[in-house]
């Protein structure tokens, strides 16, 4: 039961409290670039969840059983980014061959995720936080869900600000960033939710 509680805490804190986009600032580029339309935001979010889970499933054992055993911990960065890049390519090829319908909907997003800092960030953070394999997977799922949540919420906000009249210098990106800051402020309301989850 305690294990389960621990996992729920990790999940909730990575979705709501330490949201990757809005409080840790990872994956801002796709957050700003792809959040214009709701369906694109959902597609990107689901692809990120998928890649994060796969990447964690592969990089965690590599770190524990290969890099740590051989004393190659310092090569973490190079190895992880290569593994993620190869993995994304591999997933794309497999999807194309066996599940073409899924490839059609997620295919365009996959190559972009290779250099998404949220994916590399989550794999490195899992190691830094000292999570075991199950905890790492849950934390990746949470981070992915948090990304999806932020994307979906923000695409709604964005459709509203696009119709407003704003001062010339603020048009486009500046006003978008300021709107994002309010969404991020709203997520502050979740602070402390984890501490009282099982109280």
């Amino acid at each position: 039961m305690d294990t389960f509680k621990g996992l729920v805490v990790i999940l909730m804190s990575s979705v709501l409290v330490n949201n990757y986009v809005l409080s840790r600032f990872l994956g801002i580029c796709p957050f700003l670039g792809v959040s214009k339309k709701l369906n694109q935001a959902v597609g990107m979010g689901i692809s990120v969840i998928f890649v994060m889970l796969m990447a964690t499933a592969v990089t965690w054992p590599i770190q524990m059983y290969v890099l740590n055993t051989l004393g190659l911990g310092y090569a973490q960065n190079i190895v992880f980014i290569l593994v993620i890049a190869a993995l994304v390519q591999f997933i794309e090829i497999v999807l194309k061959k066996f599940i073409p319908s899924l490839h059609k909907s997620l295919g365009v997003y996959l190559p972009l995720i290779t250099t998404n800092c949220a994916v590399l960030g989550v794999t490195i953070n899992n190691i830094l936080d000292g999570y075991n394999f199950l905890e790492s997977m849950v934390s990746s799922l949470g981070c992915g869900l948090g990304f999806l949540l932020a994307m979906v919420l923000f695409s709604g906000v964005r459709s509203l600000i696009d119709e407003r009249l704003v001062p010339k210098a603020f048009k486009g990106l500046p006003v978008t960033l300021i709107a994002a800051s309010f969404v991020s402020l709203a997520f502050f309301g979740f602070a402390g939710i984890v501490d009282n989850l099982f109280a």
Binding site: L32, G33, I81, L120, A169, F170, G172, P174, L177, S184
Partner: protein
């Protein structure tokens, strides 16, 4: 061809093609490491060091790297330099190493570095690529320090750790928290927009090929930029 002079290659990174405020590249470290001036300054220099080295090496190898696998090659070169910088900092500047944390590793996937490799170093001579790296690196550092100054002075009442009278007893906490970062960034882009009056280079002409989101965003960020001009 005065336009392509070595000096202008270097200086364009400072304002006209500032990677942070005009090209909107490398947003993640910009927002995450600008809570303190010292953190922002060291992040800027670390990224500049990686950028200069990777630009030089990629430019040297540009005739040997096959076109089809160039992105993975660039990433490996960049990751190598990031590891070197990281080890160096861990050994000699442990405080700053702690402060920057995971964002130091994430220089690997910083779009400024990959973007410059793709758009400049892969096509230009070594000398020019190094100058471009210096200019872009300084522009990045300058932008980060500018943003951190606003955030630290207002949010913590200090500059580079030195307390400012009055300000330090009247802090506005939100500026060093996440929402403050997004807001200050928005306002600073607006300021740069107003100064350059839209004469700054358009993102679309420049860096979408190097941006990992280019395929989906379809110049979405560029058009967001364009609307502002």
């Amino acid at each position: 061809m005065k336009k392509d002079g070595n000096l202008s290659v270097m200086l364009k990174g400072l304002l006209r093609e500032n990677p942070v405020f005009v090209l909107i590249l490398g947003t993640c470290p910009t927002l995450a490491t600008t809570t303190t001036v010292i953190g922002a300054f060291s992040m800027g220099l670390a990224a500049a060091a990686v950028l200069i080295c990777s630009n030089a090496v990629i430019s040297l190898l540009r005739k040997f790297i096959p076109d089809t696998v160039r992105i993975p090659c660039y990433i490996v070169i960049i990751a190598g330099f990031v590891t070197i910088v990281r080890m160096f900092m861990q050994a000699y500047l442990p405080d700053i190493f702690e402060l920057l944390g995971v964002y130091l590793d994430l220089i690997t996937v910083n779009c400024i570095i990959l973007g410059r490799a793709e758009m400049f170093a892969g096509k230009n001579s070594v000398g020019k690529s190094v100058l471009d790296g210096v200019g872009m690196g300084l522009g990045f550092t300058l932008a980060l320090v500018a943003m951190a100054t606003v955030r630290e002075v207002l949010g913590a009442g200090s500059f580079a750790g030195i307390a400012i009278p009055f300000m330090s007893t009247h802090t506005i906490d939100i500026f060093i928290k996440a929402p403050g970062g997004l807001m200050v960034y928005g306002f600073l882009i607006a300021v740069v927009n107003a100064i350059t009056k839209g004469k700054a280079i358009k993102k679309k002409d420049f860096s979408c090929a190097g941006c990992p989101s280019a395929g989906v965003c379809n110049g979405g960020c560029a058009s967001a930029k364009k609307e502002g001009e």
